[in-house]
Amino acid sequence: MGEFQSGKELCDQFFESLTGRKDIDQRIVMLLRNLYSEGKLTGDDILQGLEDLRAQKEDGAESQT
């Protein structure tokens, strides 16, 4: 659009900016970034991804927070 950042540019920039933030679970950041880049960032897909992360934790994975 030129004079303003487009919606997509804002989203790209936003998900980039989450990387490395210590107050946010980086595995969730990775999950959201992957879903976003695949064009699958829907409520249901996020929930499924979070459930998978919880299952991994129960299998003994350490929290990254």
Binding site: Q13, V29, Y36, I46, E58
Partner: protein
């Protein structure tokens, strides 16, 4: 930058009011056009044709409940198909779009570049109609924000925010999490019952367990979760080595199962409430339908998105259809019925929670029917009481399946109070039998205390370890919720920043255009601002006071100007593909005071934009001819619409007088009378404005609705006060004009009044009167009218340009 697309020619045939093939030719240099037509003559058929060409629908018709069948001209014989053809300044985009009788449409030009062009055009807003231009101003704050987001290409932002919020809310209200919290409470209460401390912390439990350990004579301390587990296991093993100890442990297990089974009546109460509420909802037809449609629409969306159905064809009726449009419309429908589904969703959630409860109840009760228990602890009548219950659990499970699967009512019969009481009595009796057996197994008080102590320690261990497990699971959920909340909050901040930038730029232009249209009025700092709770509103300064929303103080005319200013500002910033705009009858009787400013605004601020300006206001049409440069603008008008011919375009005579003559030539006396009335009003308004005639104050749009009679009186008062044009023949001209005005009124309404219509001669006399009257105020030497801006400041009389005529 690539040249913006403009129109060279628009051709229509058989579409809406257009029957025979007609075209608007904008010439090779894509000139702008003013199209005049009386209401009902078919101006909007052209904007409808353009809207359909680009978007496949005509929004205004759709909102009125009209469908594609209404796009066909009434007189069009089958199998002839309606056609809209556009030629552009980029020849490779030229295309014909044909509306098919059997459904759907086809293009004559299917190149990839055209497809891309249509796709980008759909993101732009280029048609403004009178009935929609106020729509934005009148919208709720939330809807305003959504519309702006749509216009500025923030759809992806909205979708991302909604996805994050949906996930966050679902996570917070997750059935699993609720169940963990409920189990955590349950375990917490059980621990309170054992240790007698409320509230308690982990150390209280460990300290209590260690005290018990000492009483039981175990050597190692209990200092944490691990030692609680290991010491209890060791003591348990020690007990189970002896037959007596093993027997006591088994009895305790059965006692616990009997105790758990006592929760069945409470469970049944809750199940009854859920089923009753479900059946109440099932009696509300619209909610049942919404639920069924929700499923149908969601299945449709899935089938379309996954490509399971043939593109371009309705999956149900097999008629040709635009797949993208169908998908979009299904998604909108799903969104619109969510309110009706709220209670139904709540019921389904409650059923899910009950499912978590039913399993331990069923397992506990079934364990009481095992042979070993039957032989050792149950009397025959007790066994009879218990044995019918496991089958009931299966039935309740089926009921819950039905409720989850369908909004239709369910028939249910739950055990009566008598059966539930009998169950409760039997379970209490079993507990008493167990207590009695345990007592008889322990020979001494010390032994009893020992076994009791070990049972208590085991119970404490089990409850505490489960409690810690649930705390862990809940902790995982809560950390995810916390992260997602932060992400959602940061995203909203980012969105707000992005929006603010855009709004600032749009507001700057809205302010500029609005002030241009209403020069001399005390408006300032007009802006679009984000409001609390996700909304958007206009704010402005009116006589130095900050006002929001503008509806509070502004007239119809001002609000219309807001609509026009916003449309133009948004087109300026966001229409990067198309360089044309269509303004379909956007000037109404409310807007007479700034209609001329609008023409100048278009001319001065949008020199590179091609406009298609449709109007039914013949005086404005006349003014536009004077104000807009003829090398860039074309002027055409529509003949009276007829069923036989549909819309017909005629080259427009250049002035209102010429158009009156055209009416006379075509024997349209009523049309000529109508235009004469407009000409009298226009002439008088111009003279009054030139002389600075003072008229009675009227608020808001009342100012815009002065009739000729009032203008004549005002002008006469001015002349009397200045002792000017007092000669008898001049006074006669005033009387004649008053009479002419009356005649034109009667002439244009004679059918309603039941009087004889005007003749051609009458009109010719009226035209002569108007000319003579107008000439009174024009200098014979310099040919210019008397005007206040030619005159010295504060001069009572006004002069012409050369100063020879003073009035």
């Amino acid at each position: 930058m690539e040249q913006r697309v403009k129109l060279k020619r628009l051709v229509g045939e058989g579409f809406r009011g257009i029957f025979k093939r007609v075209w608007l030719d904008f010439e090779d240099d894509c000139k702008s056009l003013v199209l005049f037509g009386n209401n009902g003559d078919g101006k909007s058929s052209f904007s409808d044709a353009l809207e359909w060409f680009f978007t496949d629908t005509i929004d205004a018709l759709q909102r009125e409940g009209c469908g594609r069948e209404d796009y066909f001209n009434d007189a069009l014989p089958k199998p002839q198909e309606p056609v809209v053809e556009l030629s552009f300044n980029r020849n490779n985009l030229d295309n014909e779009k044909i509306l098919q009788w059997e459904g759907g449409y086809r293009y004559s030009n299917n190149i990839e570049e055209f497809r891309k062009y249509i796709e980008s055009s759909r993101k732009e807003s280029f048609i403004l109609r009178y009935h929609t231009m106020r729509a934005f101003v009148d919208k709720r704050k939330k809807d305003k924000l959504e519309e702006v987001e749509e216009i500025i290409g923030f759809k992806i932002i909205k979708e991302t925010r909604q996805a994050l919020l949906r996930a966050l809310n679902s996570l917070k209200s997750s059935t699993q999490l609720t169940s963990y919290r409920s189990l955590l409470n349950e375990k917490g209460e059980a621990i309170v019952n054992i240790i007698g401390t409320k509230p308690f912390i982990g150390d209280d439990v460990i300290s209590f367990a260690d005290g018990l350990r000492k009483q039981l004579g175990h050597g190692g301390p209990i200092s944490d979760e691990d030692t609680l587990k290991s010491v209890t296991d060791e003591l348990d093993k020690k007990v189970k080595i002896t037959q007596k100890g093993e027997q006591i442990a088994w009895l305790e297990q059965i006692r616990q199962n009997a105790s758990t089974s006592k929760g069945i009546p409470t469970f049944l109460d809750e199940l009854k409430q859920v089923l009753t509420s479900h059946n109440r909802l099932a009696s509300q037809r619209e909610k049942v339908e919404a639920s069924a449609l929700d499923k149908l629409y969601k299945a449709g969306v899935e089938a379309l998105e996954e490509g399971w159905v043939k593109a371009g064809e309705c999956p149900l009726c097999k008629r040709p259809i635009d797949t993208d449009q169908l998908l979009e419309s299904l998604k909108k429908e799903i969104e619109s019925i969510q309110g009706l589904l709220e209670e139904r969703n709540k019921t389904v959630e409650q059923v899910k929670l009950l499912r978590y409860r039913i399993r331990p109840l069923k397992e506990s009760l079934s364990s009481l029917l095992e042979d070993k228990v039957k032989e050792a602890l149950l009397a025959p009548h007790q066994f009879e009481t218990l044995k019918s219950w496991p089958d009931l659990f299966a039935r309740w499970g089926e009921l819950m399946d039905k409720v989850e699967a369908s909004p239709e009512s369910v028939v249910f019969e739950l055990p009566l109070a008598d059966s539930q009481n009998a169950l409760g009595t039997t379970l209490t009796q079993i507990e008493e039998t167990i207590e009695s057996k345990k007592t008889s197994l322990a020979e001494t008080e010390e032994e009893k205390r020992f076994y009791q102590g070990i049972e208590t320690l085991k119970l404490l261990r089990d409850n505490y370890l489960r409690l810690r497990e649930f705390e862990g699971k809940i902790g995982v959920y809560e950390r995810q919720i916390s992260s997602l909340e932060k992400i959602h909050q940061k995203f909203e901040e980012k969105e707000r920043d992005g929006l603010s930038q855009v709004l600032e730029a749009i507001s700057k232009n809205v302010n500029e255009y609005f002030k241009f249209l209403h020069a001399g009025e005390d408006f300032d700092q007009i802006e679009l601002v984000l409001t609390e709770g996700r909304g958007l509103e206009f704010r402005l300064k009116f006589y130095g006071r900050s006002i929001s929303p503008p509806l509070k103080v502004l007239s119809e005319s001002h609000l219309n100007s807001f609509g026009i200013s916003l449309f133009l500002a948004s087109a300026k910033h966001f229409n990067k593909t198309n360089g044309f705009l269509i303004l379909d009858d956007v000037v109404s009787s409310f807007d007479v005071n700034h209609r001329r400013s609008l023409a100048r605004l278009l001319r001065e601020r949008f020199p590179d934009t091609q406009f298609l300006l449709f109007t039914h206001d013949d005086l404005w049409f006349d003014l536009l001819k004077q104000d807009l440069p003829s090398n860039h603008w074309l002027f055409k008008e529509l003949a009276k619409w007829s069923h036989e011919n549909g819309v017909e375009i005629i080259e427009s005579p250049m002035s209102l007088r010429e158009r009156i003559q055209y009416c006379l030539d075509t024997n349209d006396i009523n049309g000529a009378a109508n235009k004469c009335r407009t000409l009298i009003e226009g002439t008088l308004k111009q003279i009054c404005e030139d002389l600075g005639v003072r008229l009675e104050y009227r608020s808001r749009e009342g100012n815009d609705r002065r009739e000729a009679r009032e203008l004549i009186d005002g002008l006469a008062a001015y002349l009397k006060a200045n002792q000017s044009l007092r000669e008898k023949e001049n006074k006669l001209l005033f009387s004649d004009l008053k009479a002419d005005q009356l005649l034109t009124n009667i002439g244009s309404h004679h059918r309603n009044l039941g009087v004889t219509s005007l003749g051609r001669g009458d009109i010719e006399v009226i035209l002569r009167d108007i000319n003579e009257f107008e000439n009174l105020f024009i200098c014979q030497d310099c040919g210019k009218p008397v005007r206040k801006d030619y005159s010295p400041p504060n001069s009572k009389l006004k002069q012409c340009k050369c100063g020879k005529l003073w009035i």
